[in-house]
Amino acid sequence: MTLEWVHPGLLLILGAWVLPWLEGRVKRVAMLALPGAALVVCWLMTPGTYGVVRFLGQELVFGRVDPLSLVFCYVFSLMAFLGMVYALHVEDDSQHVAALTYAGAALGVTLAGDLLTLYVFWELLAISSVLLVLRGGERSAVAAGFRYLLVHVFGGLLLLAGIVLHWSQTGSLAFGDMGAFSGGVAWTLILVAFLLNAAVPPLGAWLPDAYPEATVTGAIFLTAFTTKSAVYVLIRGFAGTELLVWLGAFMAVYGVVYAVLENDARRLLAFHIISQVGYMVCGVGIGTALATNGATAHAFAHILYKGLLFMGAGAVLQMTGARKLSEMGGLYKTMPITLGLYMVGAFAISAVPLFSGFVSKSMVISAAGEGHRAVIFLMLTLASAGTFLHTGLKLPYYMFFGKDSGLRTTEPPRNMLVAMGLAAAACVVIGVFPNVLYRHLPHAVEYVPYTLQHVTSTLGLLSFTVLGFFLLLRQLDPERTISLDTDWFYRRGLAPFVTLAARGLARLESGVVGEIYEFVMRRPVLGAASLLRKFDTLVVDAAAVGVARSTRTLSQRLKTAVSGHAQHYGLLMAAGFLALVALAMLAL
C-alpha cells in the first residue's frame, strides 16, 4: 500500500482501538475526530487506483476511487460522524469500537476493486454489526443477534462460493459489471448474496428482526451501512438486470404492507428501510443513467433521513423506555424538539417538496416513466403514499399525539439533539439545493426535480393520503401483534430439527466428545496447572520473600551506623583519607 494514500476504512477500523485507552473529554474528541478524519480523507481523494497489493498471484485493489465509489464514501463517513455525535454520551467502548469498525468495513466494501477484498470487508460488516444488536441487552436482542449473524454467515458463504467459482472459470478476481456472466451459477450466487444484504424479500426478514432489537445508538449505524453497501455493489455489478426492477418494486410495496401491521416503532421504520431500498434496487434494475443516478442519490438521501428517523424513535425509546406505539402517545408536550426534527426526516422520506427525498426518489420514478413501465411506475407511486402514511402520519400520530399515554419525560441529551439537528439540516439542504448532491453523482444529471407538474401532483398525492389516513384512522390503531415473515422458516420451521439435534447430536456431544475431551484435554491441562502453581509458591515466591528479607536486614544494620553526629562523620572521613594515603604509599 502506498504511503501517499490513506484508506479511510482502515483508518476507522484501526483507529477505533485507541478509544478504550482514552478517558473523558479526550475520548469524546477522539470519537468525533476519527470519523471526521475519514470524512476529510474521502473528501480529498481523487479518482484513480490506489493500494494495490499482490497476493497469491492476484492483484488486490483496496482503493478503486471513481465517482460512484466517492459519493458512497462521502455519505458513509458523514453518517459515521453523525452516528458518533448521537452516541457521544454512551459509556460503552465495545459499541464504539464495533460501530467504527462497521463503518470502516462499509468504506472497505465501497473502495474494493476486486472480489477477494470485497469479501473480507463484507464479512467484517456482519461480524462488527452483530455486536450492536447483541448489546441491546434484552433476551430477545441476544436471540435476534445470533439469528442475524447466522443469516449473514450464510450469505457470506454464498458470496465466497460465487467468488471461488467465478475465479476458477475466468481466472480473474476483478469486480466490475457482471452482465457478461449473466445466468451462470457464479453470477447467481454472487447476486443472491448481494440481495440478501440488501434485504430483498424473501431474503430480507433478518432486517426487521434484528434492527429494532439493537441499542438506541447502534441502530443508527445499522440503518446506514449494510443495505446501502449492498446497493452500491449491485449498481457496480448488476445494473440493468431486469429481475431487479420487479424485485425492487415488490420490495417497495412489501415494506409498506408490513408497516401497516406493525406496532413496534423501530420495527415499523425498519420495514420502511426495505421499502426505500426497493426504489434503489428498482433503479439498479432499470439501469439507465437516470436510474442509476437515482439509485445513488436515493441511497445518499436515505442514509441521512433514515438515520434521523431512527434517532427520533431512539430518543423516545431512551427517554420513556417504550418501544411500542400502543404504549406511547401525547409525547409532543414534553418532546417538541424531538418531534420537530423527526418530522423533517418524515417529510424527507415522504418526498415532500423542499426535502431530500423529493429530489432523489423522483429520479427513480421518472426513470420508470421514461422506460414506459406503467406498472412499476404505479407500484412505486403507491408505495410513496404508503411511506407518508406510516412514517409521516401513523408513527408520529401514535407516538407524539393520539391518546395521551400519561408518559411525561424530557428532551434527550444534547448530543442526541445536535446529531438530529445536523441530519435534519442535511435533509433540507439537499432538498432545497439538489445540485449539492447531483454534481457528485456518477453520471451527468439533466434531470430537473422542481417542475410544476411534479410539485403539484406530489402535493396532491400527499395531502389526499392525509385524508385517507384520517378517514380510516380507527383501522390503523396499533394492535399488540407480530407479523409472520420468512424468518418463520428458521424460527419455527426448523423446530423439529432442533429436537432431533437435541436428542441425537447433543447427546453425542456431551456423552462421547465431552468424555474424550475430559480425558485428553482437561485433565492434563489441570495437572500441568497445579504443578506450575506448586513451583510458583515453592520457588518463585520463596525467592522473592528471601530477597526482601535480606534487604530488610541489611537496611536495619545500616540504620544503626547513621548516628547524625558531625564529629563521627569527620572521623570516618579522616580515617578513610588516611587509609587511601597508606594504600597509595604501599602501592608505590
Binding site: 409498506v256 404492507v257 408490513y258 401497516v260 401491521l261 409532543y332 408536550k333 414534553t334 421518472s366 416513466g369 421514461e370 414506459h372 406503467a374 411506475f377 404505479l378 407511486t381 403507491l382 410513496s384 403514499a385 404508503g386 402514511l389 417542475t451 410544476l452 407538474q453 411534479h454 403539484t456 401532483s457 406530489t458 402535493l459 396532491g460 398525492l461 400527499l462 395531502s463 389526499f464 393520503t465 392525509v466 385524508l467 385517507g468 389516513f469 378517514l471 380510516l472 383501522q475 390503523l476 394492535e479 399488540r480 401483534t481 407480530i482 407479523s483 409472520l484 415473515d485 424460527r491 419455527r492
Partner: protein
C-alpha cells in the same frame, strides 16, 4: 408545569384547536386538488409519461386510492394470515 403545557392539558382549548385545524385542512385539500387541475392548464409545465397522468387531479386521486387500498388490503392479509400473538415465537 409551564404555561405552554397548561394550555395543552386544557381539553376545551384542545378541542377548539382541533376543530379549527380540521376546517383549514379541508380548505387546504380543495386548494391542492384545484391547483393540480388548473395550474398545468395555465402554465403547460412538465410532461407526463403516461396518459393516465393527464386525468384531472391525478395525483390527489391516486393518493387517496393508494392510501385506502394499502390500509384495507394490508389489514385483510394481516388478519387472514400474517398477524400473530406477540409471544408467538416464545411458546
Amino acid at each position: 408545569m409551564s404555561f405552554f403545557e397548561r394550555q395543552l392539558e386544557d381539553p376545551v382549548r384542545v378541542a377548539r384547536i382541533k376543530g379549527r385545524l380540521k376546517r383549514w385542512f379541508y380548505v387546504g385539500l380543495a386548494v391542492v386538488a384545484l391547483a393540480e387541475i388548473v395550474l398545468p392548464l395555465v402554465f403547460h409545465g412538465g410532461h407526463p409519461h403516461f396518459s393516465f397522468e393527464s386525468f384531472p387531479a391525478w395525483g390527489s386521486l391516486y393518493g387517496l386510492i393508494s392510501c385506502i387500498a394499502i390500509i384495507v388490503v394490508s389489514k385483510l392479509i394481516g388478519k387472514a394470515w400474517l398477524m400473530r400473538r406477540e409471544d408467538y415465537y416464545d411458546s
